[in-house]
Structures are given as structure tokens and as C-alpha cells.
């Protein structure tokens, strides 16, 4: 464990990413304390520039809502949707991939055809269709993102399982007569978990981007403030009041970058063949 942390810490980008993520999570948790009111309240004159008014340090948007309040509350939605949809995608993708890789044969063939079916549809288009049909809400957005992001998980897990199941310790477990589910859960999966964790961190970043893109197009949950919504609602003012879109856009950029950096650090730390590459 110590060597893992040491390798992770050696990647300076990953540490910076982690710090940013911790800060964003802290802001998200503390949002109701920082800005007790609703971020939808129209509290200022519209189109206030940043740093003009102490009460509105980042200015106000097209109808006078505080941009900083929106940013703080928006972090909750972006992180929540990113994490939950990734979790759902893992819950679908990991078991499917494991079963497919472990049993092989027609089970594998059938499950992989299903996976490919989803992979051949452009994921963003599919997400738009799902959200439009189900009406935009946090639930439908999580579902849409999960549906478009589980196939890569399934394929990755399948590939790893295919190689792990031929190892001697797995064969030994099978020979000693352990039930199948026990072999998969205790012998196979623990040994494929590291690439999945790396993938999950990157998926969370992608999910945040997807949610922002949906909100930008007006397909976000209309009852919650999110960064993508803020970018979208300021879009038409981008030539004159650029900050309305730019500030939440920066928040998305920084958070997604942080998650990617962390993913890379995790990859370094988990992947023994690369260990020490940077020294």
C-alpha cells in the first residue's frame, strides 16, 4: 500500500488533481452553508461583471442570479451525476464483462453482441434520445449516461477476466471445487480491479462532460442548477457578457482535468510495468 501511495505521489499532476477534486468535493458538501438560499434566486441586477460588487464576486447572469452561488450549488449536481452514473455503469458493465469472460463460448458471444450493439450507436446521440424520451430529470440523465458508458467497462473486464481465468490460482480454486460465484468474486475480480478503477476515474470525468453537454443543449434537469446549464444559458451572451459562460465552463474544465490527472496517477500506481518510469 505504501509503495502504491509513493508511486501515486511521485506523479505531481495526480497530486494536484487530487487536491482540486478534494476542494470541489468540499465545496459541494458545504454548498448549503456557503450559499443557504436557492441559486435560482434573482438577487442582483442582470449582467453584473465579476469583481464589481462585493456581494456578487463573480457577477450575475442574464436574469440577475449570482454566478458564484450557481457555481457552488452546481458542483453538487455535476459531481453527483458523475459519480452515480459511473457507479451504475460499473454495476452493469462489471458483472456482464466478468460473466462473458469467465464462461466464454456462446454466453460470451451473446453478451458481446449486445455490448457491440450499444457501442455502435454514437453515445451522445443516444443519451440525447433517452433524455428527451424520458423527460429531463436527474434520474433520466443518470440513466442515459450509464447506458452509454457501460460497454467499455464490460469489454475491459471481459478482456482482463479472459487472461486471469487461465492463471494457476484460478484453476486451483476451480479444481478444489469452489462454487462458480465464489471463484469469480474472490479469485478473478480482485485481480482485475485496478484497470477498472483507472477507467472509473476517467468515466466520471466523461460523465460530468456528458451531463454538461446535455444541460448546455437544454436537456438538463430544469429544477437543479448545474454547470452545463449555466454555460448554456449564457451562451447567447458570449460576445458581450462572456463571463456568464466562461466561469462555469472553467469549473467544468478544471474538474474534468483533475479527474483525468488522478486517473493517470492511479494508472501509474496500479500498473507495475510502468512503476518507476518517471524516476
Amino acid at each position: 500500500m505504501n509503495s502504491f501511495l509513493r508511486t501515486f505521489a511521485r506523479n505531481r499532476g495526480a497530486v494536484i488533481g487530487l487536491c482540486i477534486l478534494v476542494a470541489v468535493v468540499a465545496i459541494a458538501i458545504l454548498a448549503p452553508l456557503l450559499y443557504p438560499g436557492s441559486p435560482w434566486r434573482m438577487v442582483h441586477r442582470p449582467f453584473l461583471a465579476p469583481f464589481v460588487l462585493d456581494r456578487a464576486p463573480l457577477g450575475s447572469d442574464t436574469v440577475g442570479r449570482d454566478i458564484l452561488a450557481g457555481l457552488v450549488h452546481g458542483s453538487r449536481v455535476s459531481l453527483l451525476i458523475g459519480l452515480v452514473s459511473t457507479l451504475v455503469a460499473l454495476l452493469v458493465g462489471v458483472p456482464l464483462g466478468a460473466i462473458s469472460g469467465y464462461f466464454g463460448g456462446w454466453v460470451d458471444a451473446a453478451l458481446m453482441r449486445v455490448t457491440e450493439f450499444f457501442q455502435t450507436i454514437p453515445s451522445f446521440a443516444l443519451a440525447i434520445v433517452i433524455v428527451s424520451i424520458l423527460q429531463p430529470s436527474v434520474g433520466s440523465i443518470v440513466l442515459a449516461i450509464a447506458i452509454v458508458s457501460w460497454p467499455p467497462v464490460a469489454r475491459l473486464v471481459r478482456g482482463e477476466v479472459l487472461s486471469v481465468r487461465t492463471r494457476d490460482y484460478v484453476q486451483a480454486a476451480i479444481v478444489t471445487g469452489q462454487p462458480v460465484h465464489k471463484v469469480i468474486l474472490t479469485e478473478v475480480l480482485p485481480n482485475v480491479v485496478s484497470p477498472v478503477i483507472v477507467l472509473a476515474s476517467l468515466m466520471t470525468a466523461t460523465a460530468i462532460l456528458l451531463e454538461s453537454s446535455l444541460s448546455f443543449l437544454g436537456l438538463g434537469d430544469p429544477n437543479v442548477m448545474s454547470w452545463g446549464y449555466m454555460v448554456g444559458s449564457g451562451r447567447s451572451r458570449v460576445l458581450d457578457q462572456w463571463w456568464i459562460s466562461f466561469i462555469p465552463g472553467t469549473a467544468i474544465f478544471v474538474t474534468v482535468l483533475a479527474l483525468n490527472l488522478i486517473g493517470e496517477g492511479l494508472n501509474d500506481a496500479f500498473n507495475p510495468s510502468l512503476r518507476g518510469r518517471r524516476t
Partner: protein
């Protein structure tokens, strides 16, 4: 002859005689620059205007949505036009008479009118259009023709008479371009109208002809040299540009690629920005016939909405001044009731509802509301409407309501209203100049039917209101109608079947060197007959 009719006749005569003067820019209504007043019209030049979305067809007899009206309005004509005060102006008819009992309308047609293919225009075309073609196909003319018109007859080649079954006050407004566009009999009689190949090459009597239509790019109209008003039109060409993105339309105007941004084609905050540009004029005129009025539907079938105290709480809880000033950039007027102040028979002698959150809270308590979620359906017509829904949601949240905003696409919105699947919903509808045409439909109980988003979707029913609307439509004489309409407005405003929001303005933005653009109640639909470029 009643006084009203004489006045109409007189006005028609004067307008006919003095056509030259009118066209010489003496009317200051649409002139962007004062210097233009002293100038005489110049011949020649082209104008580039924006139409959005692209029309699906230019055959105005078949398609009457706004983009088609704007473009085809220069190709086709009807018997009359209407001034900003909704008084009739001659177009294909040079004068007209209304019988004393209000049941016979006689139109005398212009004699030197030719279709774009050179064939002469006669009373046969008018009878064919209104008695056959439009009676079969036009969603607004058809019910009027069926219910109120006894017969349409040609008295001679240039005289047509409409004999009504009963007096119908708004009948004089039915000769507006999009309601009764006159189509050429020689090309349509005896054919399948919808598949007639002439639909792609519309032939009208208007000041411009269709020259070229490049889908997704532009529609080009050229001057009709045989137009029936001597010397007109002044312009040589009209280019209707199709630019799908709102921001791109703004840039197109800023860079000079287009000269006219028609109402509603740019977002509200851009209007203020563009208005500051040099050589630019902005006018809210030209929408008097439509007189867009916006309101919130209450679904009276839900327990709470059926309570007047609840409806009043919503009304008092909304900051309509904020919506007007911030969301519509001041381009609106607070609606006082069901009839727009631009529409005939408007009355301001009604109860007033200001922004009063304290009163709203008290009324909400009185209604027995206990925090149940209330769905607010937003109108998917662009950014302003989305922001407005968010602002109203915030207003109502502040008085203690639990509002869930629902957003959909246009089809989903129509579906939900048609199925009565909403609690509160935004809308705006046209008034068509007269309460009998554009107002009664929202409130009379005979108009409660699933399947349309434009009828009485609230489910409001009040026998007294039904009776007053019916009597007012059939009453003969303006005074009698005014009295009945004032009464019904008072009842409705007290009862609050829907929450009226704003009388909207869809400003037209244009270069000031274009003169005589918007001179009628249908604005851009007939803007180019005598427009000229300085």
C-alpha cells in the same frame, strides 16, 4: 347606412384617391429617420430580410404559418388590409358596403389587376377562393364560412357579395391576407389543390413574384412590373435569407449581410444591443392583428386550481414587471385581462392585480395549499421563455409553493396541453383583432375538448361568460358589442380563469434608410408594397 359604415366608406374612398400621398411617406409610422419625411420615394434597390424558420411552402392558401405569411405576403393579396387601428384599408377591393342589418358585405374590386401569369383578376377568383378553395382547406375561414355565411355571389365581374345568416361583427376582419388569400381560379379550379404543381411556383396578384428559392439559403422575389398600383413597388428585389441560428442572425445584421430582422428572430437582449447601432430603427408596430398575449394556464381539473384563492395567489405572487423589464427588455406591456389593449373592444375598467407577495401568501394559505408539488410547463420557444419560466418558478417558490419545472420540445409541449397533462403552463396566442376570433375560444365551455393546445385547455366553464361571448359576436353595432365585451372582461378578470402575463412585442429591427416598411396591422406580411430604400 350606419355612421360606422359611412365612415368606413369615406375612409376607403379617401385612401383610394390619396394613394399617392400615402405612398410618398407622409405617414410617419414606420419612418426610422426624420429626414426621410422630406424625401420622395426612390425606385430601385434590393432588400435582404431574415425569415425564420424556413417556410415549408409559399402557397398561402394551403399554409398559413408566420414564415409563409411573411414571404408569401408580397406574392398574394386579399381584399383588404388593416391599419394599426385595425380599420380596413383597400387592397384588391377598392371600396365596400355593409348593409344596415349587418348581414350583407358588398366588395367592389379593382379593375386593372393581373395575375403574375398575365391573366386578368375578376370576381370569379374571389368567389372561387372564398367559397370553394378556402372553405375546404382554411382552418380559420372554414368555420366562419360554414357557421355565418349564407352565400357568396358574384354580382358582376368586379363585385362580390357575402350574405350572412346573422350579423357577425368581426366579419370585416376576415379579409386579411392570411385568412382569405385570393388564389387564381384558372390554375386551381377542378384540380387537387394539395398536389397542384403550381404550389411550387405561386402565382398571385401581389407586388412581387417568386424568382428563385434555394432551400436552406434564400428566397428571391422580384418586382412585378404589372402591379395594379401605378409605379409600385419601388424595390427591385427582396431576398429572404434563411439563417437557422439566432446568434448568427445577429451577426448577419451587424455585418450588414441583412437589412431587416423580423419580429422574434433574435433574442430579446440582442434587440437592445442592435438598437444602438447606427442607421438602425426598431419598431414594435405591425403586430396589432396578432396582438400576442401571454398567460399561464391553470388546469381547473386539479383540485387546487379550481379554487379562486389559489389562482389569485399565483397572480399576486408573480413579478410581472421584472419579467417585462429583465426578460423582455421592456418590450412588453402588463396584460390587464383576456383582451389585448391592441384588440378591438378592449376595456381597462377591470380589477387590477399588482405584485404583492404578502397578499399572495395569505391567499395561498386560504386556499388550503399544503406544499403539494405543482408542475409548471415551460414554453419551448427559445431562451427568453425558458428564463421566464425559471423566474416565475422562483417567484412562486418565494410565496411558499413547491414548483417543479417541466421542459419539453415543441411537440411534447403541444401534446401535454392537448392531453390536459399539466398544472400550470405558459402559452401565448393571437387575438386576430377581435374578441370573437381570438379571445372567446380560450374561455367558452363549448371549446373544451381534448386534442388541441389552442382551445379552452384550462377547462374553465362559466355559463354567464358563454352567453356574453355568444351575444357579443352576433350583436349588431360597435356600441352594443363594446358593452357586452366590457362586461365579460370584468367577469373574467375577477374570476381569473388563467393568469394573464404580458402583451408581447416582437420588434422588427431594420436599417433606417428603408422607408414605409411597416404600415399595417400585419406588419412584415405586407411590408414591401411601397417600401423604398434611400
Amino acid at each position: 347606412m350606419t355612421g360606422f359604415n359611412k365612415r368606413e366608406l369615406l375612409k376607403a374612398g379617401v385612401a383610394g384617391l390619396a394613394a399617392g400621398e400615402l405612398f410618398f411617406g407622409l405617414s410617419p409610422l414606420a419612418n426610422g429617420s426624420i429626414t426621410a419625411l422630406a424625401q420622395s420615394p426612390k425606385r430601385g434597390g434590393a432588400v435582404r430580410a431574415v425569415v425564420h424558420p424556413e417556410p415549408s411552402s409559399l402557397m398561402l392558401g394551403l399554409v398559413q404559418n408566420t414564415p409563409t405569411q411573411m414571404v408569401a405576403g408580397s406574392i398574394y393579396e386579399s381584399l383588404l388590409k388593416y391599419g394599426h387601428d385595425l380599420k380596413p384599408i383597400p387592397s384588391l377591393a377598392e371600396r365596400w358596403e355593409i348593409s344596415e342589418d349587418g348581414k350583407a358585405y358588398t366588395f367592389h374590386l379593382k379593375r386593372n389587376v393581373k395575375w403574375h401569369d398575365g391573366k386578368p383578376f375578376t370576381a370569379d377568383d374571389v368567389v372561387f377562393s372564398t367559397d370553394v378553395f378556402l372553405r375546404e382547406l382554411h382552418p380559420r375561414w372554414r368555420p366562419v364560412a360554414t357557421t355565418h355565411v349564407e352565400r357568396i355571389e358574384k354580382l358582376d365581374d368586379f363585385t362580390v357579395r357575402y350574405q350572412l345568416k346573422n350579423p357577425f361583427g368581426p366579419f370585416i376582419l376576415m379579409f386579411e391576407l392570411s385568412t382569405t388569400p385570393i388564389v387564381p381560379r384558372h390554375l386551381y379550379a377542378g384540380t387537387d389543390y394539395k398536389t397542384n404543381p403550381n404550389n411550387n411556383t405561386p402565382i398571385g396578384t401581389g407586388p412581387f413574384k417568386l424568382a428563385e428559392w434555394t432551400r436552406g439559403s434564400h428566397i428571391k422575389l422580384t418586382r412585378n412590373p404589372d402591379y395594379h398600383v401605378q409605379g409600385l413597388p419601388n424595390l427591385d428585389e427582396i431576398y429572404w435569407q434563411i439563417i437557422p441560428d439566432a446568434a448568427a442572425r445577429v451577426v448577419a445584421y451587424e455585418t450588414g449581410a441583412v437589412d431587416i430582422l423580423t419580429g422574434g428572430t433574435v433574442e430579446n437582449f440582442d434587440v437592445a444591443k442592435l438598437a444602438k447601432m447606427k442607421n438602425t430603427a426598431v419598431t414594435g408596430k405591425g403586430w396589432e392583428m396578432i396582438a400576442p398575449l401571454s398567460w399561464l394556464w391553470f388546469n381547473h381539473r386539479q383540485g387546487l386550481m379550481a379554487k379562486k384563492s389559489f389562482r389569485q395567489a399565483v397572480m399576486y405572487g408573480m413579478d410581472r414587471d421584472f419579467a417585462k423589464d429583465v426578460i423582455w427588455n421592456g418590450l412588453a406591456r402588463l396584460a390587464s385581462g383576456p383582451v389585448s389593449s391592441k384588440t378591438r373592444f378592449y376595456s381597462d375598467k377591470v380589477a387590477a392585480y399588482g405584485f404583492d407577495p404578502a397578499k399572495a401568501k395569505a391567499l395561498l394559505k386560504e386556499s388550503g395549499y399544503k406544499g403539494e408539488p405543482i408542475r409548471l410547463l415551460a414554453l419551448p420557444y427559445g431562451e427568453a421563455w425558458t428564463r421566464w419560466a425559471e423566474a416565475v418558478k422562483q417567484n412562486l417558490t418565494d410565496i411558499g409553493m413547491n414548483i417543479q419545472l417541466v421542459t419539453t420540445d415543441v411537440a411534447g409541449y403541444g401534446q401535454r396541453l392537448s392531453d390536459w397533462d399539466f398544472d400550470l403552463a405558459f402559452t401565448w396566442l393571437s387575438q386576430f383583432g377581435d374578441p370573437a376570433l381570438g379571445v372567446a375560444r380560450t374561455y367558452v365551455s363549448s371549446n373544451i375538448a381534448k386534442g388541441s393546445p389552442w382551445n379552452n385547455v384550462a377547462g374553465y366553464s362559466n355559463p354567464e361568460v358563454d352567453r356574453l361571448f355568444a351575444e357579443a359576436a352576433a350583436a349588431n353595432g360597435e356600441a352594443a358589442r363594446q358593452e357586452l365585451y366590457t362586461k365579460v372582461q370584468q367577469i373574467l378578470v375577477e374570476d381569473l380563469p388563467v393568469a394573464w402575463m404580458l402583451e408581447l412585442e416582437f420588434p422588427t429591427i431594420y436599417r433606417s434608410n428603408f422607408n414605409n416598411l411597416i404600415k399595417t396591422a400585419t406588419g412584415m406580411n405586407d411590408a414591401f408594397q411601397d417600401a423604398w430604400k434611400a
